[in-house]
């Protein structure tokens, strides 16, 4: 008998064979088991590249690592974002293969042009790397309002790798997309990687006494 369950197995069994109340009551324990199973599975499999050559992967990872740098907290490198992009390019984002294969050499040419002596992006200093990326960025700051959903088809290489890096950093680590390794992206932004929570949720609701009618409206709300 299996001692651990994946989250999906729990969910499908929860609906098919267990009472809703039972699932609700036992959810935290089940989820904790599922999370352990998931992390064990992730660290057991040695990652391989399916699209990038090892040399390309080094360069792509170096770019990702400037988009979400490693600081006092993990960045794109620790989240395995390059593996997410690699998998994306042979699965759901095949349409972007050309952007990457053509965009990377153009970026390398830009490196050599801006910093003669620097052979490739990964060999340049961080500050130089940032300057190269800044030269490719057409919209350096936010300010255009909230899109209904994330842009699926970014036009330029830089915009594509920017969106892909952020996506690979923050994708549900339970997904099959190899991003957000060990949930580090969610840890960085403060998102607990569980999928079930109980109140109190945050600072402001922890001492909430329960809803009371506003005394000033007591007469109005009676009717």
């Amino acid at each position: 008998m299996k001692s651990t369950f994946t989250r999906r197995e729990i969910l499908s069994q929860g609906l098919a064979g267990m009472s809703a109340a039972w699932v609700s009551a036992h959810w935290p324990a089940m989820l904790s088991a599922a999370t352990h199973a998931r992390q064990a599975a992730k660290s057991a499999a040695p990652p391989k590249f399916e699209f990038f050559s090892p040399e390309q992967a080094v360069e792509i990872e170096a770019i990702c690592a400037r988009i979400i740098p490693t600081t006092d907290t993990p960045g794109a490198r620790e989240a395995g974002v390059v593996f997410f992009i690699d998998r994306a390019l042979v699965t759901f984002a095949k349409v972007n293969q050309k952007l990457y294969t053509e965009g990377l050499p153009e970026l390398q040419a830009r490196v050599r042009e801006m910093f003669p002596g620097a052979e490739k992006f990964s060999a340049a200093a961080s500050k130089q790397q940032d300057e190269v990326l800044a030269s490719l960025d057409e919209h350096p700051t936010e300010g255009r309002g909230r899109p209904f959903r994330a842009s699926a088809a970014a036009q330029t290489f830089f915009e594509t790798i920017r969106v892909d890096t952020i996506s690979g950093f923050l994708i549900d680590p339970d997904s099959d997309k190899r991003g957000n390794r060990d949930g580090v992206g969610w840890k960085v932004i403060g998102r607990d990687d569980a999928h079930m929570f109980q109140p109190p949720f945050g600072y402001y609701d922890k001492d909430y006494p329960g809803w009371q009618p506003n005394p000033a409206d007591a007469d109005k709300t009676k009717s």
Binding site: G14, A20, S24, V163, I171, D192, F201, G202, Y204
Partner: protein
Amino acid sequence: MRPEQPKYKTADEVDFVIIGSGAAGGIVAKELSGNGYRVVVLEQGPYLTEKDFVHDEIKVLNHDLLTNHPELQPNTFRKTPDEEAKPRRALVYGRLVGGTSVHFTANFWRFHEIDFTEHTRFGPAAGAAIADWPITYADLEPYYTKVEWEIGVSGLAGSSPFDPPRSKPYPMPPLPVKSSGVIFERAARKLGWHPFPAPMAILSQPRPGRSACMNCGFCLGFGCEVGAKSSSLATAIRMAEKTGRCEIRPNSYVHRIELDANGRATGAVYFDEKREVQRQKAKAVVVCANGAETPRLLLLSANKQFPNGLANSSGMVGKHLMLNSGTVATGVFEHPLNDYKGFAVSRILHDFYELDPEKVGFRGGGGLDARFDITPIGFALGSLPPGTPRWGKGFKDVLSHNFTRSLEIFSHGTSLPIENNSFSLDPDLKDSWGLPALRMTYKDHPDDLLLTNWLNARALELLDAAGAVKKWSFPAQEQQFAVHLLGTCRMGNDPKSSVINSDHQTHDVKNLFLCDGSSLVTSGRGQPTMTIEALAFRAADRITALAKRGDLSA
């Protein structure tokens, strides 16, 4: 386990064929099959279930796991009829069994009396076609109650002094409050406003076969993997299946309703999963395909008798599209709210539901809610303050700080009905089946934009009163993207100015009924699904009464 469904043959004339399985179609199917009728539901999308509902933002949102797909079904957009429409994604709706109710936010308050009697109360408005509904709030009240009890709505009766009268309390208490809700409630009370627990179509207590909300945080845009969200999929569809008289037939894309020589609908013509043409015969047809696809289907079904579209002698099919106006003000607070946990909305207020046009200088009204309905990737790509770097350490620092400390004040309000705002058939663009694509024409009434900015000013006042460390918003912009699809086959007593009567029967074809967002005469103040579902319960009652009288047989 899902019960066995009957499998009706297409040549077998069933009592009703229902086109669409969403908020309205699910309920009409449940009610009619429950009343003893043999029903086939034709749904263009797939039959997904809870096990398919993942939290993968790319799969679900970017790749439209649950929604209409722009490559299969592209559309065009223009602002006014004199412009040439250009291909551009302009709408999203749920394209699966359960429809848009699978992925919605689940805000579920009732419309108020004013929504049904706006014209009598305030008269006409320049540039808009405001009309009273042929039914009133009182007519719909018992059906609102049915929705709350049968489908499952959490809330606290009597908590808003602006609520219309009700015959029964909610069947279950409100969902827990979120930090955004507490901040909203305290600030709104400081300002003398009346915040109250948001009525939500999400279970706060388990029901048979359904769990209470687990607060997973993947709610708007996602399907609920534990059946806590009261979608048609988790509720009415399951109940319809249990009758043993209702067949849900997914991957069935209806593109034509045919009439016999007597001008009566004979059933629905559709593409099956293999794209082969099938004809399901039925004694009567109920179209619940949403406010975009319902008028499109009627226009696609033009024939000799109705050269401008089936049941379109009024010329009103597809017209008076309303989207609901709205915008967002974002606030960042000192301490973590962790609002990513849980459903989107826990507190709302309706102080501005009925504004005095004399005082504010525009028509309409609305409300505010406190919400966090954004998942991590979407937040990082679209919810940081203006001026934030889009990558690098500066980006990461703001993202890491704000994700747990942000909330949004969402203002939601009226769209005034305008005849030119419409869904029609694009003369050039075709979908993947070779059918004319949807063409959307939309330009907000100036009052809608004034209202949005007025409400947004209240939202910013509220963020100030709440002590937000940082706040920002964007001025109202003309809408070019549709989520709420309302008003396009409006209900009315006059066959010259409306498409259906108060029984949801088309004025032109006696055994053809329409019920979904297209039936609405006014937009309400946002969050229309509750009203669409109440209409569906009522429509099923009316249709049953007509069928029993023999009015639907030839």
